[in-house]
């Protein structure tokens, strides 16, 4: 098991290409540092994110999952993030309800210009997930042995 000192969480982020992905880009241009533990998956819209993506990430051993889209009202496709908000709200509550640690999930609205917000959120999320340690719940292990 990883010691607290060396442990670095595995974080999968689903970013909307029109805003939060742009914010990550901008953060790079501005040379803003944020933790390297985040693997960004660029998606067309937060509205295109199915809960099964998030569960898939958890199954495969992600310690934290981050979804970020355009602020409500600013969707490139007009209403994609409005649908995402309803869907992901229910899903977030469901995961919380079954005991998945709240801090392993982060849902944000980050516009393309908000590189600083992205940096802040990234730092806070990585710290929070690192504090929880490696994910144990819903993580697929291949070690099972039947006698």
């Amino acid at each position: 098991m990883a010691s607290p000192k060396t442990y670095r969480p595995n974080i999968v982020a689903f970013f909307c290409r029109w805003c939060s992905y742009g914010a990550a880009d901008l953060a790079g241009s501005l040379r803003l540092r944020y933790p390297v533990d985040i693997r960004i998956v660029r998606v067309p819209c937060s509205g295109s994110i199915s809960p099964q993506y998030l569960l898939y990430a958890l199954l495969q051993g992600a310690d934290g999952v981050w979804v970020s889209g355009c602020h409500p009202g600013d969707c490139h496709y007009r209403i994609g993030n409005m649908h995402a908000r309803r869907r992901l709200t229910l899903f977030h509550n469901l995961l919380d309800y079954v005991g998945i640690e709240r801090a392993r999930l982060l849902f944000t609205w980050i516009a393309a210009s908000e590189a600083h917000k992205l940096q802040r959120e990234a730092e806070a999320f990585v710290t929070a997930v690192a504090a929880l340690g490696p994910a144990r719940r819903l993580v697929k292990s291949l070690e099972t042995c039947i006698l």
Binding site: P51, L59, I79, M82, L90, Y97, G99, T108, S141
Partner: protein, 316 residues
């Protein structure tokens, strides 16, 4: 034979002999005690086989979807809502559907009855008003209906059909219990660790037969996510993460559309209370979006619509 069954046969016979419908989806007597069988009557003679008992615990909306032609369906409150849902989803045309409305007193849970009689072999069950009498080779015991009703019927809010073409009986008072949130309180009170432990324990016995999915009229994907291979969203094993992920996703796919008919729980061979998950989603849909699934043909499912003022509580 009870009054409901008599009336259902009358209606079915009339609809079939007048050729108002091609088929009537209902139930006939089961081959073993405490069971009823979904049945499609296509002739007035077959209508004579229709029956109604507290063990009609499937979901006939599911059966109706696959039937060609004009179909009449016997439906309690929850099933009528499913019919509304499938009409809304264009899986059954309203003009091809006749709803035979069955005001519901709550359906029975064979497991509860078996528990009440201490596992002795039940050879028959009689229903008289609020009294449910189980008989065996050497015993006869009577219970209050409320004690042997299915869990879902204890929190029912819509015992009377919301869409009716033919009426089996006068509406019954809406005294089912009505508080769907009671189911989720069991877990919500607990701390996350305990919640996960309860979640795991509740679904531990699952054998992934998918009866819960297959009995449910909300499921309609041509290829279910569990059957997809590119990507394969979850493993096919009985390992805990695969099983739990299956149930989370199955429940979520019903979010905003579930009528809490309880067919999933009734179909489960292990008696897993999977409404623990669906009830949470519907409770949130009510609380956050003021939404209750399929109460009228005009209402869209909670996740098919949005409001600019939807709560932002999980976003930062």
């Amino acid at each position: 034979m009870n009054a409901y069954a008599r009336r259902i046969r009358e209606i079915a016979r009339r609809l079939l002999s007048e050729k108002a419908v091609d088929a009537v989806a209902g139930y006939r007597a089961g081959t073993v005690p405490m069971r009823a069988r979904p049945f499609v009557a296509r002739t007035p003679a077959e209508a004579g086989e229709l029956t109604w008992t507290g063990f009609c615990v499937g979901n006939l909306a599911k059966l109706a979807i696959g039937l060609p032609g004009r179909v009449a369906v016997c439906a309690q409150g929850c099933i009528s809502r499913n019919l509304v849902g499938i009409v809304r989803e264009n899986r059954l045309a309203r003009e091809n559907l006749t709803v035979i409305g069955v005001p519901c007193l709550g359906m029975l849970d064979a497991r509860k009855i078996l528990a009440k009689v201490g596992g002795r072999m039940v050879t028959g069950v009689r229903e008289e008003g609020d009294a449910v009498t189980a008989t065996g080779a050497d015993f006869e015991e009577t219970f209050a209906r409320g004690d042997v009703k299915r869990d879902t019927c204890l929190t029912c809010r819509h015992r009377n059909p919301v869409l009716v073409d033919e009426v089996v009986a006068d509406p019954v008072p809406e005294t089912g219990g009505g508080d769907g949130d009671r189911i989720i309180e069991l877990w919500e009170r607990k701390k996350p660790d305990a919640r996960f432990e309860l979640f795991t324990r509740t679904f531990r016995d699952c054998i992934r037969c998918y009866a819960c999915r297959d009995v449910c009229p909300l499921c309609h994907c041509a290829t279910c996510f569990v059957d997809r291979s590119r990507p394969q969203w979850l493993g096919k094993t009985q390992d805990e993460p695969d099983v739990l992920t299956y149930h989370l996703l199955r429940a979520f796919h019903c979010a905003g559309r579930c009528t809490d008919c309880g067919a999933c729980e009734s179909a489960c061979p292990l008696g897993i209370p999977m409404r623990r998950l669906t009830a949470k989603l519907e409770s949130d849909a009510r609380r956050l979006f003021g939404h209750e699934a399929s109460l009228s043909l005009d209402a869209k499912p909670a996740l098919a619509v949005f409001s600019p003022d939807d709560p932002d509580e999980v976003f930062s």
